[in-house]
């Protein structure tokens, strides 16, 4: 099953991981991970807590170095990452978005204007002058999406973006993720919500104890024979 999905063309490859391992002290968070991620893919990472999903995302975003193996990025692509609990600065919603643009090298005045456009995109323009800390969980995640979207990334990595949200907020965030993907953005996200994976992903990777145990197009993943561990996880999650 591993790597059985259709391989992207060489020119479309954004990430190529060759036997990548990540260690935190004596803990192997990622083991011998070999995979290729192409442009325009909607890749879902699934697995139990501690399986290595977040580590893989953080490694792809350059936040965690490989202890062994290597990651190649044949085509440089702008990327942004969303976290489960987005960090809100003690300032306005608009400034919270603008700071990301400013850190990318934009002048503060221009960044603030672009931030407003990004907030309109996620439906938060009315709250631009509110303090970021006073937003609800769903609004904060939409604000984080605006912060990421404002950077015009080609790749968006999301670490359980809807994990702590209520159903309505989940739908809103999912809808935005879908729209971003439809616009051509490459999505790589981790999730425990298999319904969400079915709705959003084109490809699924199952991880366990840092190992990639299954890697398949979404239809195959939910429809075909999986390795016993992945099948058991699926059964537990769906049951």
């Amino acid at each position: 099953m591993s790597n059985s999905h259709s391989m992207p063309l060489a020119t479309d490859v954004l990430f190529q991981l060759n036997a990548v391992g990540v260690q935190f002290g004596h803990v192997n968070a990622l083991v011998n991970c070999t995979l290729t991620i192409g442009r325009g893919e909607r890749l879902a990472l699934v697995g139990a807590n501690g399986s290595g999903k977040s580590t893989l995302l953080r490694h792809l975003h350059g936040l965690v170095p490989a202890s062994s193996g290597q990651m190649l990025k044949p085509v440089p692509a702008l990327q942004a990452m969303l976290f489960q609990r987005p960090y809100m600065l003690r300032t306005s919603v608009q400034n919270n978005v603008a700071v990301g643009l400013w850190l990318s090298g934009m002048r503060w005045g221009v960044a603030r204007q672009q931030a407003l456009a990004a907030l309109e995109r996620v439906g938060l323009a009315d709250l631009a002058q509110r303090s970021g800390k006073t937003l609800s969980g769903g609004q904060q995640q939409r604000l984080a999406l605006a912060r990421a979207w404002a950077l015009k990334p080609e790749v968006l990595l999301l670490d359980e973006p809807t994990a702590s949200l209520d159903p309505a907020a989940k739908r809103e965030v999912e809808s935005l993720m879908g729209e971003f993907a439809d616009a051509g953005m490459t999505l790589i996200f981790s999730s425990h919500n298999l319904g969400q994976v079915k709705r959003l992903a084109s490809r699924v990777i199952y991880l366990e104890h840092g190992h990639v145990l299954a890697d398949a197009p979404v239809k195959s993943f939910f429809g075909e024979a999986l390795p016993p561990a992945a099948a058991q996880f699926l059964k537990g999650e769906l049951g």
Partner: protein
């Protein structure tokens, strides 16, 4: 008990009559400690923020020294500054010994480790929670430290209070490097020590009461700032931002 009552009465009279001698001592104390705090904070806030986010070989040793410096006895600081500023010392050419500047320098050295260590801890905790997100937005170590420092500014006011409290209440360092010269380097704590040794307990106690009042006023000010900040966050409006946005639309 009589002595205590007399002291409190004298303190009250001295304070309400705005005794010039007392006023000059209080103002000098405030000036020395405030300046020392400004100097220590201008270095300690940045150094603490950097230590909070930076990871380098030997960091543990640096932190161990820093934490040890929290327990620096003020007389030892005073002695070291005295040796540095004395005529034969490396800073003797400044001619600062037994001066206002010497007291500011001594108190700055005394509170610098406090500011640095407390800021370091606060920023390190914030970085553990949010540093990766700032890093993912492209913030390097320097910007991460500065952004977290700005974001934690209200919490860090407590550090400033702690530093000021330490500075204004210490006696050893200013006594050694200032010399407790009447009308020149006499501050509240050295005056209290002197008046106590002379047996003038009412004046000593009056100064003590004033010392506490000054710190109490400072605490009240910080509490007000916090209250204002919380009220503003609860309202969720940011007048400055609105003003900027309005100006931008014109």
């Amino acid at each position: 008990m009589n002595t205590f009552q007399d002291s409190v009465t004298t303190a009250f009279i001295l304070i309400t009559s705005l005794d010039p001698l007392l006023a000059s001592i209080v103002l000098r104390s405030l000036a020395v400690s405030a300046l020392a705090c400004v100097l220590a904070c201008s270095v300690g806030l940045l150094l603490g923020a950097w230590l909070g986010v930076a990871r380098f070989a030997g960091r543990g040793v640096v932190l161990a020294f820093l934490n040890t410096a929290l327990a620096l006895p003020s007389v030892v600081v005073g002695l070291v500054i005295y040796l540095l500023l004395s005529r034969s010392g490396p800073l003797g050419f400044l001619g600062w010994l037994f001066s206002f500047q010497a007291m500011v320098l001594a108190q700055s050295v005394l509170v610098l480790p406090i500011v640095t260590a407390l800021v370091r801890q606060s920023i390190e905790d914030a970085d553990a929670l949010h540093g990766e997100q700032l890093e993912s937005l492209g913030a390097g170590i320097g910007w991460r430290g500065l952004i977290l420092l700005w974001d934690e500014r209200y919490a860090l006011l407590t550090v400033v209070i702690a530093a000021f409290g330490r500075a204004i209440s210490e006696v050893g360092a200013v006594m050694v490097v200032g010399g407790n010269i009447d009308g020149f380097t006499r501050v509240m704590t050295t005056a209290i020590a002197l008046e106590t040794s002379k047996g003038d307990l009412p004046l000593a106690l009056a100064l003590g009461v004033l010392l506490l009042l000054v710190v109490l006023l400072l605490n009240a000010l910080i509490a007000l700032i916090r209250h204002w900040r919380e009220a503003r966050e609860a309202r969720g409006s940011w007048p400055t931002d609105t003003a900027i946005a309005t100006a931008g639309q014109r």
